[in-house]
Amino acid sequence: MVGPVRFYFEDVVLHGVLDTPAMTITETHVGLYAGLSQDVPPEPGLVPELLPLCLTPGLGWRVNQPPLAVMAFMGFEWEVLHPVRVGDTIHSRSRTAVKRSMREGGVIVEERQVINQRGEVVQKGRFTFLVAKRPS
């Protein structure tokens, strides 16, 4: 039997950069997100600041690489630099900044940016994950 392919701690390349495909943020995204969270945009036409952040992991699933074997999402730091508007097309760029082996798995710190259709970095930060090691 062949199980799902996963990207383990050992597979992560330190300082490796990944660009995701892009996605256009629509009223539907904002409406679904607002209905789910009650977190609404500060004014009509704008996208709630946390929504692009929430979309980055899913964008990461669309790169040509198996999904990271995340055991736990430990935390993040995030900075909102410019507003995202409905109709903007965003993608995400990430770079592995830290790779630290632990007894159970390893810690990966990823620098992540959200970039709009004009190439402007609209949000950026650092994500910390605990990632599984390849089963021996």
Partner: protein, 151 residues
Amino acid sequence: MSGPARRWFEEIEVGETYESPGRTVTEADIVIFAGLSGDYNILHTDAEYMKSSIFGERIAHGLLGLAIQSGLFTRTGVPYATLGVGTLRWKFKGPIKIGDTIRVRARVTAKKETDARDRGLVTVERQVLNQRDEVVQEGETDLLVERRPAG
């Protein structure tokens, strides 16, 4: 015409504390968030696999908890005249499972002037608690809040 009541930067005081109503996180929340975000990690979507994990069942996306607490925060009282979120520093401390009821406890820890004269920065420390009062997420957010318009 006056809109709904909102609190200006000047009206918010360091040390104020708030507690939100609770919200039960359901399977539907997780499924919708997976569909919306495209994050189909097995932690959130594979009930059979998760039976044998340390959690014993599917858990909510950490960022779903973050999004829900953001909405809950606006229900703690008269909302701020918020222009936006500036920065966030956030830690995921424990799982949110299907059926857990979470709420936010928050405290204003700092206020700062900014270069822009129409707004200020309010730092709010937040804890997301479950029905057993366990802290499942915690962090700090810097919010841009409008000043009272002159005149």
